[in-house]
């Protein structure tokens, strides 16, 4: 909505615009719990960047959309507060160049996060009790890495290194990979 249109708005329309800006700011920060408390939809059309090309979607927007959908369904057992924490975990793993992960609830409050293409799988399962399970496979009979423990002790920098290599390989083969995540 342009500045000219804002100036011509009635009070009700101005209020709607202000609400959408609030939603956008909260959602930008991954603060799903507050968005839910205010009964706002962070992915209402009004918060969409109107001119953003579809292939330039950010991992943050993609992850917020999926985590919101997961938290919105009570059967998944993931609260909005927990979705916030999963978003912050992803923020520690991801860069603007990282291929987006697939996110699946385990129906017990946990989240399965997968980066996957061809033979390669990088997976981390975040369990609701603070435990993690990590798997890196390439289709060989034995996994390349299999590890578990407390999330607080997880080697994030090692994961970032794996994701960097994985993302470079994917991007070399298909620079337009983001088209599959909208």
């Amino acid at each position: 909505m342009t500045l000219v249109a804002d100036e011509l708005n009635t009070g009700a329309a101005e209020e709607a615009v202000a609400q959408r800006r609030t939603v956008a700011a909260l959602a930008q920060a991954g603060r799903f719990a507050e968005v839910h408390a205010r009964k706002l939809d962070p992915f209402h059309e009004g918060t969409r960047e109107p001119d953003a090309p579809r292939t330039n979607v950010s991992w943050e927007r993609y992850a917020r959309r999926v985590l919101w959908a997961i938290a919105s369904d009570d059967e998944n057992g993931i609260s909005y507060e927990r979705a916030d924490r999963y978003f912050r975990f992803l923020a520690r793993c991801m860069t603007a160049q990282t291929v987006f992960p697939f996110l699946t609830p385990d129906l017990e409050g946990g989240l399965v996060i997968e980066w996957s293409s061809g033979r390669t799988l990088i997976e981390i399962d975040l369990e609701s009790d603070g435990e993690y399970f990590f798997l890196h496979t390439d289709g060989s009979p034995q996994p390349l890495i299999k590890d578990s423990g407390r999330v607080s002790g997880f080697n994030i920098s090692h994961l970032r290194g794996l994701l960097s290599v994985f993302s470079q390989e994917v991007s070399l083969r298909n620079p337009e990979w983001r088209q599959f995540y909208v």
Binding site: A69, V99, S117, G118, E123, D125
Partner: protein, 161 residues
């Protein structure tokens, strides 16, 4: 409880196909290989909970006039499949188990379970089995569409699915 755990019913035919409903999150989002666009089965969709991984067996479906297209709401789900012989080669077992809670009695009568040596969660063991199983499964994302194997190499067929 361990004494009563039944992993496999040997009378179940190796040739039977096991179908697995794969819920999409969000409903519209089809997970795809980022290189070739082929539909991707997620390990997170292969859950081992309660009394096993829920599936439907083709021989039981035939007996009850249930088709693969009738197993799920395609607005929310895709469908995966694997043969029983592959499941057993991966050290898992299969058995029939009527789903009494299914409002569709015939579909419920076609229900079965995939199991490991131990009851759920058997997490570390199941997570390796499910990844191996996933690589050998096929997926369909719409009722009239093609079955896609899980790509091990780049291909050009997936983006059109």
């Amino acid at each position: 409880m361990a004494e009563s755990w039944s992993k496999d019913d040997a009378s179940r035919p190796d040739a039977a196909i096991a179908y697995r409903k794969l819920k999409r999150v969000p409903d519209h989002f089809v997970a795809r290989d980022p290189v070739c666009g082929c539909p991707r089965i997620l390990n997170g969709s292969l859950r081992y909970q309660k009394d096993g991984m829920s599936v439907y067996f083709s021989d039981l479906m035939d007996s009850n006039d249930v088709t693969p297209a009738g197993l799920c709401s395609w607005d929310e789900y895709g469908l995966g499949r694997a043969s029983t012989v592959v499941i057993r080669l991966l050290r898992a077992g299969v058995l029939a188990s009527v789903d009494e809670d299914d409002e569709d009695e015939k579909r419920g009568a076609s229900h079965g379970l995939v199991r490991t040596d131990s009851p759920p969660p058997d997490k570390n063991n199941w997570r390796e089995i499910r990844d191996a199983l996933r690589r050998r499964m096929q997926i369909k994302v719409k009722p009239g569409g093609a079955w896609f194997a899980q790509c091990n190499e780049t291909c050009a067929a997936g983006a059109a699915a």
